[in-house]
Amino acid sequence: MQNNFERYSCQMALPGFSESAQQKLKDAKVLVIGAGGLGCPVLQYLVASGVGTIGIADGDTVSVSNLHRQILYGPADVGKSKVSVAAEKLRAQNPDVAIQEFGYLIAPDNSIELTDKYDVIVDCTDNFEARYLINDTCVIGKKPLVYAAIYQYEGQLAVWNLPAYGGLYSPNYRDLYPDVNTSQVPNCSVGGVIPTLAGIMGSMQANEVIKYITGTGDLLTGRILIFDAASMQSRVIKIGDVTKTSITQLPQNAALPLISFDEYKQLSSKKQTTLIDVRTLAERDLEDIGGLHIPLDELEEGLPNLNQDNLLVFYCATGKRSGEAVKLLTKHYPNIDARSLAGGLQGM
């Protein structure tokens, strides 16, 4: 077979697919942001199917509690960079794919540059800050965005921001949810997630990416799929043909400075560090990793007397309240180095 496409013969036999569709995949550049529960199957299927260039962006290291749903990683990978581990395994899976590694979190000061060289962006992140930033970056940069999100037994999937008509674009995430108070929504480490949901929704994301690139099938544009893995029911909700939003600048909130437990251990051996638990006393009584104890509500009443030259590492159960603590402190003391323990105690 020409072009070394023998590997792809079983997809090139599809109606609506062909050698030219395969060539489109080979020529395509896809950026996958987040190499976690959704990112693992997205990456494995995009690599398997022969997408020519795949970028992976993630600042996290592998943790034990990731392993129940993040199928690219095993216990031997714990503590290593997700991007590095994933890239190595994916290169073995298909050496013809150019894998590009970005071992950092997406942030307002890098998101445009990061996405600019890619044809399609895939949002596989696990927090609202990143999701809004990616959404707004794609709207401003006119990039198609394949979105999925999961919680417990339920997943959402959509393709945002495709050209519609008259210079207008199809709906994006802010058409559904203009803004969210993130502290009101539990994440997977609190509410749990069934691992197979990551596989189902991630494979569906990769499916939409392949359909978009090759021009086959009907994309989930102007619609959102809601899938329930408990009942196996799904419904597609119609949003509309064009967006009603007007997004012209990136979210103003600076990205939250996070720190992993491994980084904390490393930095604390080199630098004066103050660890601060912002949970309630009842939570602390059950389990703690040491440090000062200043509950978030006390912090909100009056700023404590902390050494501003130290590295200040805040922690809570999930990273949510410690994030609030960091926001509060940096608002008042812009020059301090305050960080929130990523994922909290449950992410360790």
């Binding site: 987040g34 976690g36 529960g37 959704l38 990112g39 596989c124 992140t125 696990d126 927090n127 609202f128 999701r131 999925a148 999100a149 999961i150 919680y151 417990q152 339920e154 997943g155 959402q156 058409d175 559904l176 949810y177 203009p178 803004d179 969210v180 108070n181 993130t182 009101q184 929504v185 539990p186 994440n187 997977c188 509410g191 997630v193 990551a198 809601i226 329930d228 419904r235 597609v236 909700i237 119609k238 949003i239 509309g240």
Partner: protein
């Protein structure tokens, strides 16, 4: 009229059930339904935004409801 709300995601936790019934006047718009929901379940107000889907279409605030409508409450989801 009574409107049955199907709960998705954390709406199940907030309602404490997979569906609840809310009473609104005949021909009320979605905005009135949302006010009722936020009055009975203040966490929806705190959430800032959530989707109301009527008969599997995204419902703007001015859509007029009727008793036979299937109404789904779909909050945002962040996990990955």
């Amino acid at each position: 009229m009574d409107i049955t709300l199907l709960a998705f995601g954390i709406a199940k936790d907030i309602f404490g059930a997979s569906s609840v019934t809310v009473a609104v006047n005949e021909a009320s718009p979605v905005s009135i339904l949302k006010e009722k929901i936020e009055l009975n379940y203040p966490k929806f107000k705190a959430l800032k935004s959530y989707m109301v889907a009527v008969n599997n279409e995204y419902a703007a605030d001015d859509l007029i409801l009727s008793a036979s409508d299937e109404v789904a409450i779909i909050p945002p989801v962040s996990g990955g």
